[in-house]
């Protein structure tokens, strides 16, 4: 692999770890949904760098489009703040 590709994947992976931790500890569930979409975007970048364009094409609409939509619906029908 190219060094630039490895660097890009590393930065995206670190960003995804930070976003995942913040999504887990966040008390505001709407913020948690947005953070998990950030994590998914970083994952999509990693898949692209690892030469799996098929997975990118299915991962972007499902994890950035449909999953946040369904989660926001769930939050709307229950409560926004945890705890």
């Amino acid at each position: 692999m190219e060094p630039v590709a490895i660097l890009l994947a590393t930065v995206a992976a670190l960003l995804s770890v930070i976003a995942t931790y913040l999504a887990v500890v966040s008390k505001d569930l709407l913020v948690a949904v947005v953070l998990s979409a950030v994590q998914s975007t970083a994952y999509a970048l990693i898949y692209y760098v690892l030469m799996a364009p098929d997975i990118v094409l299915v991962y972007v609409p499902v994890s950035v489009g449909l999953l946040p939509a369904v989660s926001v619906l769930l939050i709307k029908k229950t409560e926004r703040y945890e705890g």
């Binding site: 931790y21 098929d54 609409p61 769930l74």
Partner: protein, 270 residues
């Protein structure tokens, strides 16, 4: 979001980085080989192989060839599982009514205008991913979920009332979903039926000519590769996925007044 949380998150990320470095050095056991394995090589050589069509699926995209030809039956049951899940969601809310005039006006005029610009772009991107599934990365599920995101966007930005007024209904979506599944079933059985009529050997999920079977799906459309069944599978799968995922979203997004009727019916049964 406080500085303390950010510091903890950064240190977790640093730990993951160091752990990855240790794994890369081989500190936690042997690493997987970096060379291409024989199985992968055979798929790469056979996916598009006009010189030996009895082992080929004549598709330029190896992933689609594997998903819909070499392991086509697996993908068929994956589609069935998704269908059963969607039927489960619809059955959980059985008895709901789609109502208009509940006061949803959608988002502001700025969002609506910019969404109108986006709509044809997403639609064309999704359709081309699905229809070119045997030539470029992507396929039926990918293109279908692109278009499902478009439908969700429309339902959120222009409100559910608008979608219902424009003729969208869960009954129609379920009909499109069923038509897509029937199309997949007919495509997988097409050569078997043709073989039974002509009195020669054929297989379920057969794509190109095989040893002991002369029948074959079309390889070319005009001067472009078609990939036989793969093109039809991708088109029908994208129809089934876009209608199924949109149906799920609409059923989950139903308003209180629309579900009340179903709840009352449930209590009556008890």
């Amino acid at each position: 979001m406080r500085a303390r949380e950010l510091a903890i998150a950064s240190s977790v990320a640093l730990m993951v980085l160091l752990l990855a470095y240790v794994i890369e050095l081989g500190g936690l056991g042997p690493l997987a080989p970096h060379t291409i394995r024989d199985l992968a090589k055979s798929y790469l050589e056979y996916a598009y192989n006009p010189w030996n069509a009895t082992v080929s699926s004549m598709a330029l995209e190896a992933v689609t060839a594997i998903v819909w030809d070499y392991r086509g039956l697996d993908t068929y049951f994956e589609t069935s599982v998704l269908f059963v899940a969607i039927i489960g969601v619809a059955a959980l809310y059985r008895g709901y009514r789609e109502m208009r005039g509940l006061g949803g006006a959608g988002l502001s005029e700025i969002v609506k205008t910019s969404t109108r610009v986006l709509v044809p772009l997403i639609l064309v991107a999704g359709a081309s991913i699905a229809i070119h599934g045997h030539l470029t990365p992507g396929g039926g599920f990918q293109g279908g979920s692109f278009m499902a995101v478009l439908m969700v966007l429309l339902a959120v930005v222009f409100s559910l009332d608008y979608a219902f007024e424009r003729g969208l209904s869960s009954r129609k979506l379920l009909a499109i979903r069923s038509a897509g599944l029937i199309g997949i079933l007919l495509t997988s059985l097409a050569l078997l039926v043709a073989g039974a009529v002509a009195g020669v050997y054929a297989y379920v999920f057969q794509n190109m000519v095989r040893e002991s079977s002369e029948l074959s799906m079309p390889r070319w459309i005009f001067d472009r590769p078609l990939g036989g069944t793969l093109f039809f599978f991708n088109v029908f799968e994208s129809l089934a996925v876009v209608s199924g995922l949109t149906l799920t979203f609409i059923v989950l997004a139903l308003r209180r007044e629309e579900v009340d009727h179903a709840l009352a019916a449930g209590e009556w049964y008890e």
